[in-house]
Symmetry: C2
Subunit: 211 residues, 2 copies
């Protein structure tokens, strides 16, 4: 029951609501974390970036780790909603989905890289990531893939392999550009999507050739 009424907003520096402060801290934490890593960031630094005292952080989050979880949790589920179900064609779905994910990753590449990096060391992050992304995969991708198989459009490759391949291609896109700058310089998302999709759907080999 947060009975905080927005009355008039005078010139003098008003105290922010608890929720506003919380958001300030979360935003600052996200920036510092993605830049320096969880263990490389200090609560003092985050407080400075958020414009609050260090003690304020611990009024909103009991521990530093709780802050980490609070930063990542909403981000992990983000983007699920943005995908509509208007597609009829499995191939069209994969094209849209890949482009959608590439855009999402390009916009949040520091975040994505951070999540996967920290997933190595923190069980909580790994579990949240696993649940969130696997949920996307199973709920969204698998039905379309199986639909395609039933229609005879897709090969009956085991779904885990499809998922792994697809995610590898897509997720690595963001990591790649960071770790290996210089390669793929002027690649637009459109081009990247088309080229990846060409390989993913039709393969590297020209159709007439034999293995």
């Amino acid at each position: 029951m947060k009975s905080k009424q927005e009355t008039e907003q005078p010139e003098i520096r008003r105290k922010k609501t608890a929720e506003e402060r919380r958001q300030d801290i979360l935003e600052a934490a996200l920036n510092i974390f993605t830049e320096k890593g969880y263990n490389g960031s200090t609560t003092a630094e985050i407080a400075r970036a958020a414009g609050v005292a260090e003690g304020t952080i611990f009024r909103h989050f009991a521990t530093k780790k709780e802050l980490l979880i609070a930063v990542l949790s909403p981000k992990i589920l983000e983007g699920i909603i943005s995908l509509d179900k208007k597609h009829k064609d499995p191939v069209e779905f994969f094209r849209c989905f890949m482009k959608n994910r590439l855009e999402l990753i390009k916009e949040n590449d520091a975040l994505v890289r951070f999540m996967f990096a920290e997933a190595q060391y923190h069980d909580e992050v790994r579990e949240a990531l696993s649940k969130g992304i696997l949920g996307q995969g199973i709920n969204i991708v698998q039905p379309w893939f199986e639909k395609g198989v039933k229609q005879g459009v897709f090969k009956p490759v085991p779904f885990p392999s499809v998922m792994r391949t697809f995610m590898g291609m897509v997720l690595f896109y963001g990591v790649f550009n960071h770790v290996f700058p210089g390669l793929s310089p002027k690649n637009t998302i459109e081009e990247a999507t088309d080229q990846m999709l060409e390989i993913f759907l039709h393969g590297l080999i020209v159709k007439e050739a034999k293995t």
Copy 2:
């Protein structure tokens, strides 16, 4: 000029050579680093694992970061040699290369994950990784790919996209199994290679279908 002669080895606990100690420390550091991350590991912990005093570490490595570099540098170049050039067929090359890399990654998956995780935060790691792996890509993969294109076997997709797709699939293999356990349970390397290669070379779509 290390004039240390291996004479007789009496029962009493002998002092190890500098090189032996160095290797002990490197091995322990690798284990601790991959488990807890660079910033999550302490030199005290590494010393304990290596069975040496903390000061000994700094007799062999000036700083903790120097230890990190010393741990990773040899690992990054590892595996290049193991690949012979007996292949004649570009397709066969990709099959062998993928299987080879998958095995390498499966055996060193903690290391691989650690390298890419720390590459987010340390320029030195990123540069070493970039140079090492990009070198492999350009020196080994690109010639075979271009050979395939000239033979009319491969499509003239821009090489960066091919490389990115290939690396994404392969590298993500290890990360995937760690972050998303439960999926792809009993997948052997043989199966994984075959399924990935099927998608990479021939695509998900059955040949008769149209986009």
